[in-house]
Amino acid sequence: MVLMKMKFPAEKRVRLAQGLWLLSWTATMAGALTFCLGCLLKTELRRRAEVMDNTEIHCVPHTLMVVGIASLGINYFAGRICQDALDPGRFPRWKGFLNPYFKVSLFFTSLMLLAVIMSYAMKGSLEASLKIGLKNGIRFYKDTDTPGRCFQKQTIDRLQMEFQCCGNTDFRDWFEVQWISNRYLDFSTKEVKDRIKSNVDGRYLVDSVPFSCCNPSSPRPCIQDQLTNNSAHYNYEHQTEELNIFVHGCRETLVKYYMGLMNTIGAVVLSVFLVQGSVLVSLRYLQTSMEAVAGQENAEIETEGYLLEKSVKETVMEYLDPVLKIIMPNQVASSDEGAEAGNPAS
């Protein structure tokens, strides 16, 4: 039971080969595009690497880059094969190459699909990584004199201004952290001492945010200190005031940004996947229809092309049997023993 049989007269075979040649060139450029998109995504992720806790999400751009390079190789061979396919003298030398070639190509093409699925599936991992990274960034904001952490203030300030966000979940995260270093606090004043005594950890906590949370679109000069105290500022009510500082949290903004980028890349990679798939299907049809011509006197006869010689289930079982024999040799042996034991009884 052959899978998806199609008849190929001589002229159709020629057209198939020509179409495949053009398609393989398109797929080569699409493969190069995939590689470039992988590089782009990697660059964007690396730019904000300081606010990410781990690099798990980097497997998406790595996969895209590997697939891009592999598809260049796959399509190069596809082009060469289809050029030789119509020549009965040159086609036989590809005979031994084609089966492993198809297996490898199928593997890399499915990897392309996997990359697109991963980019959607890893949203949770990205969010978790950003949550921890931003939490640390905010915590170490004040440590501009500690080696290894001295650039956190700069990073967080520039991040908040560029993405128009404030804090991790929202601006209240700044109220829970001491973001003013002890070097700039006058410990002899009563106000500072009161604040430090008012909490268990002895931290100087204020209901203020850094200047980078200020929204330039606000009609009034920025209020960053005593945000929740309406009486500290004239004509100010913090519950209704929306334009003063950025209301969104940086985690949400960054996740949205990266998911938007990955959605666009995913859509492009899906279309590349379709192109690549059609290249492989056409090549398989060309191979099977040309193999039927081999050895015949008349090269112009009509032949049949197919995707798989047996049905899908039989082909899968054919490949899995040797694997199963290695994994489960006892089962085969015990069924033999059972048969032998059963025999004397009967």
């Binding site: 700069q154 003013i180 700039y184 980078s212 009034r220 000069p221 100010y236």
Partner: protein, 358 residues
């Protein structure tokens, strides 16, 4: 005595025509580049339109745009002419057009050079425009409720953040203007009333700056209020603390930004001018070679090409005479052969008559 005479064989003439055809097409591309540069400059100026006091500076990108379009048209025509010059019969079509074309293109290349020079001279004008524009923008910073000025606050803030600058010449410019609107000042408090009364104009002046002046590279949280008061902040000395606010003024930052754009543009335009001049020289040689060929009659023979038929002084004198005599259409000219010339017999009569009388 031709200027820079070169002798061309038929093969050389054909090659020259083909090369010039290709070069003219490259010149069309350079015309497109000129146009693109004009568009780019116009967009850059438009982006900061609110910070410039008027539109005087627009003449520079407009000049580049028109020069670019005209260069495309001229070089397109030039390419067509050079393509036809290979064949002497086709050349006859263009014979009368070629010399005016070369003269026009020669004057047009001066326009390109003027465009390049304009980019350099724009610098002073821009300084003046930016000074007035920034001063006004800062003055209207607080007027976020006045139509027409409500976006100036956002513009100035984004400018200061993006260009890492503060104020017109420095951060002290903010001390001389009221940048906090009266809507947000509690006029009943004594502190506000004292400040307002302390100056002639009744403005609320303070030694504070907007948040957009804050330097992101500072190791300490930004100090924007009471900037000159050392005792208001712990461990702070405003004279030695260099990293708290952005040091440079926005006028200088914008001027540097536009100057670097201008310099790159004028360099590219200057190179395009040199290229145009080169192509024009080639076209002149081709024109003179083809005309001399036609005069000789044999299409396969060698012919001479030159820049000018006579020396520069003679050509200048000849053209000057033409211009001088343009207005003398109806005056009697002694050299005109159509006027009656006295014969030799008539000329000899007067001396005999004089002798007889004596």
């Amino acid at each position: 005595m031709a200027v820079l005479k070169v002798t061309f064989t038929k093969a050389e003439r054909d090659k020259l025509a083909h090369v010039l055809w290709v070069l003219n097409w490259i010149s069309v591309v350079s015309g497109v580049i000129l146009f693109g540069l004009g568009v780019f400059l116009k967009v850059e100026i438009q982006k900061r339109q609110e910070l410039m006091s008027n539109h005087e500076i627009d003449y520079v990108p407009h000049m580049l745009l028109t020069t670019g379009i005209v260069a495309c048209c001229i070089n397109f025509l030039g390419g067509k002419i050079c393509y036809d010059c290979v064949d002497t019969t086709k050349f006859l079509r263009w014979k009368l057009v070629m010399l005016p074309y070369i003269v026009c293109t020669f004057f047009f290349t001066f326009c390109i050079l003027v465009g390049a020079l304009m980019c350099y001279t724009m610098h002073n004008k821009l300084d003046e425009l930016l000074y007035i524009g920034l001063r006004n923008a800062m003055r209207y910073y607080k007027d976020t409720d006045t139509p027409g000025r409500c976006y100036l606050k956002g513009t100035v803030d984004m400018l200061q953040i993006h260009f890492q600058c503060c104020g017109n010449a420095g951060y002290r410019d903010w001390f001389h203007i009221q940048w906090i609107s009266n809507r947000y000042l509690n006029m009943s408090s004594s502190e506000v009333m004292d400040r307002v009364r302390s100056n002639v104009d009744g403005k609320y002046l303070m030694d504070g700056v907007p948040f957009s002046c804050c330097n992101t590279y500072s190791p300490r949280p930004c100090i924007q209020h009471q900037v000159t008061n050392n005792s208001a902040h712990f461990n702070y000395d405003h004279q030695t603390d260099q990293r708290n606010l952005w040091k440079g003024g926005c006028r200088q930052a914008l001027l540097d930004h536009y100057t670097s754009i201008m310099q790159s543009i004028s360099l590219i335009v200057f190179l395009i001018w040199l290229f145009e001049l080169l192509v024009l020289t080639g076209v002149r040689y081709l024109q003179t070679a083809m005309e001399n060929l036609l005069r000789q009659g044999d299409p396969d023979s060698e012919s001479d090409g030159w820049i000018l038929e006579n020396s520069l002084a003679e050509t200048a004198r000849y053209n000057f005479n033409i211009i001088k005599n343009l207005g003398k259409c109806y005056q009697v000219d002694d050299d005109d052969p159509n006027i009656n010339i006295p014969t030799i017999a008539q000329q000899e009569v007067p001396p005999r008559q004089i002798l007889l009388e004596k």
